[in-house]
Amino acid sequence: MNNQDDLLLVTSSPHMHSPDNVPAAMRDVIIALVPALIAAIYFFRLPALMVIVSCVASAYAAEYVCLKVMKKEMTNEYSAIITGLLLAFCLPPTLPVWMAALGSIFAIVIAKHLFGGLGQNIFNPALIGRSFLLASFPVAMTTWVSPIDGLTSATRLGIMKEALGHQLPSLGQLFMGNVSGSLGETSTLAILLGGLYLLYRKHIDWRIPGSFIGTVFILMAVTAAVKGVGLWYPLFHLFAGGLFLGAFFMATDWVTSPITKLGRIIFGAGCGFLVVLIRLKGGYPEGVCYAILLMNVATPLIDRYTKARVYGGVKSHA
């Protein structure tokens, strides 16, 4: 028999593992956000950069302090960076940097760590940060500048909602992103690039953005038919506002979206329905943020009622 020293390592099967890990996946999310980041800085210049840096730095610092206080190890630094980036992307580029930092800290401390940290939070932290800022600083949060002349202007959805006399931007402009709006949401093209990358890397399920955007399109197309306006109307609703950013980067957040396939379709469709409801009937011109947050609440319920049938079993509900 062998000596103790000669014994081999005994481990539980399986003895192989895919190279995937959480930090690598989160790094991919950051890579996917780079096109929108470039677009944001290109269109909104220094103010946008300031807001982004402020959000990311304060999110990272808040994460560090939280973990330090709780005597936990920092295992996943990318997660806080993503929260900071996503929050920055849905803020106006002219927002004072201290407000941006405050929102970021709120997102990390309240929305993430008070709920138990990564994996335990119910709401998307970045969206909670944005909601907090909108409730606290309603004027600063709704002051928009045009990337063309730097002058204050309404957002596209705002123009439509208030039936303002301004000229609506063209669909082409909306797609490219040189319009006023939150700093990271204006370029549908840049967000789509990042979203496709995440789909390609299999980090997100097409079901959520698919059903989300699809629902908005269908409901808005019906509305257009009722109103007697053309196809530009639903397309305008797709490309204006934060729909693509929300659908590809926020509704797909692993932690706060359903884990079943059917659940993801319900979740996305629910988000889409709420966006349409808020945009058409609500007080705000935009509804992506609250739509996703409301569906976040429904996630555990959706999961419970969409459990898959076990192999060889009959369909049953828990």
Binding site: L8, S13, P14, H15, H17, L118, A308, Y311
Partner: protein, 442 residues
């Protein structure tokens, strides 16, 4: 042709090219063999020999009580020098009969054909299979004759031979199909006759197209069909194989027989052919020895009871310093404490990793990415089950169908948080079983 498959599962790097092109060679017959008295699922055997006894090749040396058991035979001729407790590749310690080989290779008198194979009826065939100690050679080692025993009200419609071999590195069945196709087809014929079934299927993954064509040729003109399946893990798992081949699902808690199917490994069929036609009991099998920690990966025809260390020496020894030795494949195989363990009936392969292969792994928090759910071939929620197990919610885990887990490891493989989901799930399964046993006793 559209290739059949199952729902869920993962794509693995196969590493099969290390050995798939190498013809099987007989491993050196050892000076001493160490034959465990428990090499099957069911009651362990009691020794039929005492220390000092002379035994011949093929002589029965262990026998178990009860129907679900399988006898054990000497794999060499020689003298019993000890009956001692040793490590079994399954992880436990069991009594082993140690035989010193006299090198004469004398067959026992009982090793002879029972009669004209063409005229044996189903009951006679089952008796021969039982007497020859034949168990499932895919690794589960379930006694074959028990599987074939008729069950009131259930008819076997299809016998499926499993030639999938979805574990990375292992190519023993692949080589067997290439080298002994006729034995496999003959064995399948005997199985079909023993269960009175008209339809035979040989299922092979599309990464072994050479075996497909060889088996098709061997099966030509018989009521046996070769089915090509898509390469995906765990295609070789019994339930997933049945779904891919028949489109049916084995009901929860049920047996393949409930959907009219019996599944056997191709190696089992070949062993049955030898037992029926020549009277030879199960004393040797094909074993793949591979992995980055082995100098010369190879396939061997190995006598049961040969130590892993001898096969490793035959393969040029270790490449670097060994860190883990896996009995079986890397997905479902078990690591052993040392190379001082014998090859048993269920040993399909030995995979060695050396120290350089170990990557530091750490467990992160679950981020609910649901990759485990997407890949689970039993359609479970491994992450939810693991969380239930963590807080001891055994009843909830049972409601979540934890007992349907086949422990294929696909979830752990795919988990980006590197959570050992399967360890939590095993814990829950044990607790559920214990609670059931307690309820039964009360």
């Amino acid at each position: 042709m559209k290739k059949a498959t199952f729902k869920g599962g993962i794509h693995l790097a196969g590493f099969k090219e290390l050995t798939s092109g190498k013809e099987t060679v007989p491993a050196p017959i050892p000076e001493r063999v160490y034959i465990p008295l428990s090499q099957h699922i069911g009651a362990p055997c009691a020794p039929l020999v005492v220390v000092g006894a002379q035994v011949k090749k093929g002589q029965r040396i262990g026998e178990g009580k009860g129907f679900v058991s399988s006898p054990i035979h000497a794999s060499v001729s020689g003298k019993v020098i000890a009956i001692e407790t040793r490590e079994h590749p399954g992880g436990s310690f069991v009594p082993c009969v140690v035989i010193e080989n006299n090198g004469r290779e004398e067959w026992d008198e009982t090793v002879r054909p029972a009669g004209d194979p063409a005229r044996l009826d189903s009951e006679q065939l089952r008796r021969i299979i039982s007497d020859a100690g034949i168990v499932g050679l895919g690794g589960a080692t379930f006694p074959a004759h028990v599987k074939y025993a008729p069950v009131e009200g259930k008819k076997v419609e299809t016998v499926i031979l499993n030639g999938v071999e979805c574990e990375p590195y292992i190519t023993a069945d692949h080589r067997l199909m290439l080298e002994k196709a006729d034995r496999i087809v003959a064995g399948l014929g005997y199985i079909m006759r023993s269960v009175c079934c008209e339809k035979g299927v040989i299922a092979i993954e599309d990464n072994k197209m050479d075996a497909v064509s060889v088996m098709e040729k061997a099966a030509a003109g018989k009521n046996i069909r070769v089915v090509v399946l898509k390469e995906k893990y765990p295609q070789g798992s019994e339930k997933q194989l049945i779904s891919a081949c028949t489109g049916k699902e084995v009901p929860v808690g049920g047996l393949p027989l409930d959907v009219g199917v019996i599944v056997n490994n191709v190696g089992t069929a070949a062993a049955i052919a030898d037992a029926v036609e020549k009277g030879i009991p199960l004393i040797e099998r094909y074993v793949t020895i591979s992995g980055p920690g082995i100098r010369e990966p190879a396939n061997y025809l190995v006598r049961i009871g040969t130590l892993f260390s001898e096969l490793i020496a035959r393969s040029g020894g270790y490449n670097g310093e060994p860190e883990r030795i896996i009995a079986g494949g890397p997905m479902m195989g078990k690591t052993v404490f040392s190379d001082d363990v014998p090859v048993v009936k269920g040993s399909s392969g030995i995979v060695v990793y050396h120290k350089e292969d170990k990557k530091a792994q750490r467990e992160y928090s679950c981020v609910r990415c649901a990759k485990c759910i997407d890949v689970c071939p039993a359609f479970l929620e491994p992450t939810s089950l693991a969380k239930m197990a963590k807080r001891g919610a055994w009843e909830e885990a049972e409601m979540g169908n934890v007992m349907s887990c086949i422990e294929c490891g696909s979830c752990v493989f795919s988990c980006p948080a590197q959570i050992p989901l399967i360890e939590y799930i095993r814990r829950a399964k044990q607790a559920v079983l214990a609670a059931k046993a307690k309820a039964k006793a009360a």
